[in-house]
Symmetry: C2
Subunit: 365 residues, 2 copies
């Protein structure tokens, strides 16, 4: 590729100084109409494009924001990223997307494919992004490593950082807490109101905040309702369809008695329904299913999936607002909560009968 045309070349071509070219390009300062026209023509003719690197070196801003997320192929994150990007673009910022695959066991098999979050933090520092958004990842691991905590603290001391996840004391970020489990309580109450008494819980990686929060809310709700809350009703795994499938298989193999189940999100619900079906069970006739976090295709499933809308769109807007606020120094250490909402569709109905207790046959795949 040929070297790109610089401000100096334009200046020489027009017999003016580079300062003058800069002035006309940026429409700053004063330039006589004649030279302005001459310079503008040269710029157009040569296709001059200013070097953003040089500009950033001076202005000390790159108009770039870093986004560090676990897995963009997860619909939850891709939907959120889309929202965030739109808001960022409107504010004139670019986004550098970094996938860590941290909680995504689907991708962790074999050699390390991505960089760690700590490595990404270092890169953000070097590249002088104007701010960083951390979405989940190690921040949501219940037992956080000291080195991660130190790295995040170091990053936050040097540039604005907004975190969607569990607030950590003494780390100078803006934390945005997604939810407190309210939606799950609503879901359990809804199931109970339909007459269900034995309600299972499927999916979610153990040791992750979102799992712990939702599981905790599930247990609290059951306790408040004086409903059974046996350990065997719970099967954690991860956040994808294959994990819901696996959780369903385990639940069924245990021979647990349940007439309804909470799935940690839509993907897990999908896999769970599949496992049930392979066992000869129908939703909602035999088992009612409700998702704790609805994505975008729930209304097209058969049956249409009842679930909690965590209002992630709202979250997306708030997040970028918080980040831009932090970048421009008008940040408040917000603790945002979106009100979850139950969306009733077709996957729940009053219980007809208990699930048979005998050991389950292995499904064919």
């Amino acid at each position: 590729m040929g070297k790109s045309v610089t401000i100096r070349e334009i200046a020489e071509e027009c017999h003016v100084s580079i300062a003058t070219v800069s002035r006309v390009f940026n429409d700053s300062g004063t330039v006589s109409a004649a030279t302005r026209q001459r310079v503008e023509e040269a710029i157009a003719r040569r296709g001059y494009t200013p070097n953003a690197l040089a500009r950033s070196l001076i202005s000390d801003q790159t108009m770039t924001l870093g986004v560090i997320a676990p897995d963009i192929a997860n619909p939850y994150f891709s939907a959120l990223f889309t929202l965030i990007e739109q808001a960022a673009i409107q504010a004139g910022y670019f986004l550098v997307l970094c996938n860590t695959f941290y909680i995504s066991s689907s991708y962790q098999q074999g050699q390390r494919m991505a960089r760690t979050e700590e490595e990404y933090f270092e890169m953000m520092l070097r590249r002088k992004v104007d701010g960083v958004l951390v979405i989940g990842g190690q921040i949501d691991v219940v037992e956080m490593s000291q080195s991660y905590r130190a790295a995040l603290t170091n990053l936050a001391r040097r540039m604005p950082v907004v975190v969607i996840g569990r607030p950590i004391p003494d780390v100078p970020c803006v934390f945005i807490e997604k939810e407190s489990g309210g939606g799950v309580i609503t879901a359990v109450n809804y199931l109970a109101s339909l007459g269900h008494r034995r309600i299972a819980f499927a999916g979610g990686e153990p040791g992750i905040t979102i799992t712990a929060t939702r599981l905790g809310a599930y247990r609290d709700a059951l306790a408040a309702l004086r409903l059974p809350c046996d350990e065997e009703l719970v099967c954690l795994s991860d956040y994808y369809a294959k994990d819901g499938y696996q959780a369903g298989q385990v639940l069924l193999a245990r021979g647990v008695d349940f007439t309804a189940a909470l799935a940690i999100n839509d993907s897990v619900a999908l896999g769970l329904m599949r496992a049930l079906k392979d066992h000869g069970l129908s939703v909602p006739q035999d088992v009612s299913i409700i998702s704790c976090d609805q994505f975008y295709n729930s209304e097209y499933l058969i049956p249409r999936l009842t679930g909690i809308d965590q209002h992630n769109e709202l979250l997306g807007k708030l997040v970028i607002q918080a980040l831009l606020g932090a970048v421009h120094g008008t940040s408040e250490p917000a603790l945002i909560k979106c009100m979850p909402e139950l969306v009733v569709r077709e996957s729940c109905q009053p219980p007809r009968q208990a699930v048979p207790r005998e050991g389950a046959a292995m499904p064919n795949q």
Copy 2:
């Protein structure tokens, strides 16, 4: 945020020149053991991080690649992006992701949320990325605008550009053509082998190459088989679940007779199956469904979706290889084709009866 520590500060602190600090940090040139240690300690103590902007200005490379895609929330793109990112990271590059929402009618409602591809091209030039990957978008519009073509040509003259999409003569990019419709022909033949004679086609935005290619292959296959290919068997729309749903409604409202249908991808198949169900039709008992482009959840749907695996994973690897090749000047104007593969699952079976011809009732939603 306080100004970050520079090489000059480290130099002063150690009473050496900045050249020396640079040498120890980059482990280049020769430095005495004593000063090396002193400098390394200062670097660690102060948490010095080199300014990548300044480095890039000198080295003329940013180790950043731009990716311009229509919609990362579309599972096709997010899966591809994931693959591409992993390959890029391993090669030491960062990715700037730009969503244009170009073909995504789901997002085009109301005011313009994203930038146009041409604006993104300009930004790539300014930011001096080392290369650009263009995935779909206007490149796949059958009637391409002149200004887009000019902008792409200009970009490709100035930096390495790899395009996944329809090759355009005289535009100096590396083009990677995804497919030629071979998979669709396989799908139609499969349906015909099952005994289907009236096969519908649903989804895909009109005027887009991928739609045209697949529709063309569908028609060719039908013609070769001497099967009916009425206009009314075809209903285009777009690439998402809601579009499949809409296409299904239209097909049903037309009262067309069909026992099987091709959906342009899994999302469309999902919506289509939903529309059929709302009309009281079951898959595969009443209608067989096959997807022309399978995503990741097809094996968890009820019924498990039969479809074509376009082997996008392979594509992801090839793409980044081509881009890195172009960046390092070892590009060949590749024309890559992945061999599609039929994956038979549960959504197709021999026809039982024709769909009733009377006008369809509107489904409840």
